[in-house]
């Protein structure tokens, strides 16, 4: 590998956009209005380095799950580029696209919904191996055992069916299925949200361990701030389809720069019982992603909004700090 390729990020996303045209209501039709368009992901850029974890946080409607699906081309983005090891993923076809699919795998929130209930765990794992021609004959069974060991499931799990397992164990199966094809990058969309707290820690540890052993890069999408702080090196905070702030996780948690990041961190319940405050961390509702506010989408809820915030969408720029933030007032002393 030459020096240039080694320094290039594993995954590079530039100005990615994805819209959905919603169904016209009868009312829209009568008034001659066009069908509403939901801009789920809007001008999103970031990079993921080899072996590192990027956490993506945001509330519902922020576009984090749509973004995940665009990265693996479960959805086709409308514009922008996704480069994996320098290659434009959105142009891949046929064998090249299949090769990419093998390198980038997804783990879903609901292991119940993402595993075929009619396949035994062994069949589910060997299917992936055979489709991608990664093992043949007796090597398949050996590899299945290896995978089960890797995610700390007993080897006799191969003969059982998904319904025989608990939620945590099913997520282990989902992870084993992703690992079967030896990916370099795993996109995990709320992988522990459906699990009980005591079981979440088991799966978090598994991700940390696998990353260490296999040198995996991870995109970890979650609404859980405690969790994202624990697992990710870098962080991207999303709000209504856009990234508002991105940088080193620990530094953002210590000194968030965007007023939305500040509000989000203040709203998250702390584990230390403290003097109760009746002050809300942030006022107002999440706006509808179909009709986002003009300018900075956060301005109607922002405690320091100025006229410019209503008029112009702030670009994601360093603005005098060490990491980029999409706030007109960042670096001006106002926040």
């Amino acid at each position: 590998m030459n020096a240039v390729a080694a320094s290039a990020p594993l995954l590079e996303v530039d100005d990615l956009g994805k819209s959905f045209t919603l169904r016209r209501t009868a009312w829209d039709g009568l008034r001659g209005r066009a069908a509403p368009v939901l801009r789920a992901v809007n001008g999103v850029s970031f990079a993921v380095e080899r072996g590192r974890t990027l956490g993506i946080v945001g509330e519902s409607g922020c576009g984090k799950s749509t973004l995940a699906r665009c990265l693996v081309r479960l959805l086709e983005p409308d514009n922008g580029s996704v480069r994996f090891e320098g290659v434009d993923v959105l142009r891949l076809e046929g064998a090249e696209r299949r090769a990419f699919n093998r390198r980038v795998q997804m783990v879903f929130q609901d292991p119940y919904g993402s595993l075929n209930p009619r396949l035994s765990v062994g069949d589910c794992l060997s299917e992936a191996l055979v489709v991608h021609d990664l093992a043949r004959g007796p090597a398949v069974a050996r590899r299945v055992e290896e995978l089960l060991d890797l995610v700390h499931l007993p080897r006799d799990a191969a003969d059982r069916y998904p319904h025989e397992f608990s939620g945590g164990q099913r997520q282990r199966i989902g992870i084993a299925r992703a690992l079967a094809v030896e990916p370099s990058l795993i996109i995990a969309d709320e992988p522990v949200s459906a699990l009980d707290v005591s079981v979440q820690a088991q799966i978090v540890n598994l991700f940390l361990e696998l990353q260490e052993r296999l040198g995996l890069a991870l995109v970890f999408i979650t609404h859980d701030l405690r969790l994202v702080r624990h697992v990710s090196h870098d962080l991207a905070v999303m709000y209504l389809g856009r990234v508002l702030e991105t940088g080193p996780t620990e530094r953002i948690f210590s000194a968030p720069r965007h007023p939305y990041t500040q509000a989000l961190l203040a709203a998250a319940p702390q584990m230390t019982p403290r003097r109760r405050s009746r002050d809300e961390a942030v006022r107002g509702e999440l706006p509808s992603p179909v009709a986002p506010p003009p300018g900075c989408a956060f301005h109607p809820r922002c405690p320091i909004a100025q006229p410019i915030c209503r008029e112009r969408v702030p670009a994601l720029e360093p603005r005098g700090g060490d990491w980029p933030v999409a706030c007109h007032l960042a670096g001006s002393g106002a926040s």
């Binding site: 707290v197 998250a268 584990m271 009746r278 809300e280």
Partner: protein
């Protein structure tokens, strides 16, 4: 936070709930005793299947037909488990109100918010139509719904998730209940909206002098909103006490393990300390402490008999034979 010394408004003694299923009996709740006083927020925390929601529903006998409740639920000197259905209908909604996790399933989709508040006002308050409308506007105002007089005539589907939860709280408050039972009221909400709803509930408890029992699986929510907490595991209360004391120095091995399993904000990317294994199934008899198979402090005696709740400090109880060892552990650390 000081321990409240108010007289309990509700006292639960040795509550048990059994479900008879085609596959046998399930003891969802066993031997639960608790109290809550006016102006106090009691947290009922546990993982799925711990019996926290069933406990809450059993207080007002809102259980499925195949359920049998035992024990006593003393409300204003009267045992609600033994009360006639007619008396119970007076208690429900008027004296004790309940809010749920998913407001969309609790609200009636074909009635406006105004009609639903009105139902409650007609049933429980002696007001004429105009006064009821005025009261409904007041209630929406109270729960922080902007332009209340307009939003009153909206249907539930026209509200966002957070606004629906506010509307449900307004309906619950219509009869001015003395006790609010809240079953995971913010679990379906976003973090910033959860924060708003919790602050709203805290404000209402303080201003109206209500008592509240808050069921949640989120220890952070307990830390931020509750005065006292009952930690449940496999249908039993395993530890109870003031939140600050329980979080600072748990006396049950399960509480200890649960708190330790969560990311603390320090030691990022270091392995967490999970609780191994799974909670037990309740359709089989449990001998000894239900947590014993997953417990790092387990002794032979734990497997022999269910440890009783014992006094482990001021206003604190724990059903753990390792309580002393846990206490020593915390003072060393």
């Amino acid at each position: 936070m000081s321990a409240r010394l108010t007289e309990p408004v509700l006292r639960v003694d040795n509550l048990g709930v059994r479900f008879d299923t085609p596959r046998g009996a399930v003891n969802a709740v066993s031997g639960v005793s608790l109290t809550v006083g006016a102006g106090e927020v009691l947290g009922l925390v546990g993982e799925s299947g711990s019996g926290k929601s069933v406990t809450l529903r059993a207080l007002m006998r809102l259980l499925r037909r195949n359920a049998t409740a035992s024990g006593r639920v003393i409300w204003r000197g009267e045992d609600l488990l033994a009360a006639p259905e007619r008396r119970l209908r007076e208690v429900r909604g008027r004296e004790i109100a309940m809010i749920f996790q998913e407001p969309m399933t609790a609200l009636n989709p074909v009635l406006t918010i105004a009609q639903q508040i009105d139902e409650s006002l007609v049933a429980h308050r002696n007001l004429d139509e105009r006064a009821r409308r005025a009261r409904a506007v007041e209630l929406l105002d109270l729960v922080g719904i902007p332009s209340a007089s307009v939003r009153l005539d909206n249907y539930p589907h026209e509200f966002s998730g957070g606004m629906r939860q506010r509307a449900m709280i307004a309906i619950a408050l219509a009869a001015e209940p003395s006790l609010l039972l809240a079953d995971e009221p913010t679990t379906a909400l976003d973090v910033t909206i959860q924060d708003q709803i919790l602050k709203l509930l805290l404000g209402l408890v303080a201003d109206l002098g209500m008592a509240m029992i808050l069921v949640t699986h989120d220890l952070g929510v307990v830390a931020e909103t509750c005065d006292r907490v009952c930690v449940m595991y496999a249908g039993r209360v395993v530890e109870s006490g003031p939140v600050s004391a329980v979080f600072a120095s748990p006396r049950h091995a399960y509480t200890h393990a649960l708190l330790r399993s969560m990311p603390s904000g320090e030691a990022a990317r270091q392995p967490l300390t999970p609780i191994q294994g799974q909670p037990p199934r309740l359709d089989r008899p449990i001998v000894g402490c239900a947590f014993a198979p997953r417990c790092a402090f387990v002794m032979d005696a734990c497997r022999a008999a269910t440890p009783p709740l014992m006094l482990v400090g001021e206003g604190r109880e724990a059903a753990c034979l390792a309580a002393d060892r846990l206490a020593a552990l915390e003072t060393v650390a």
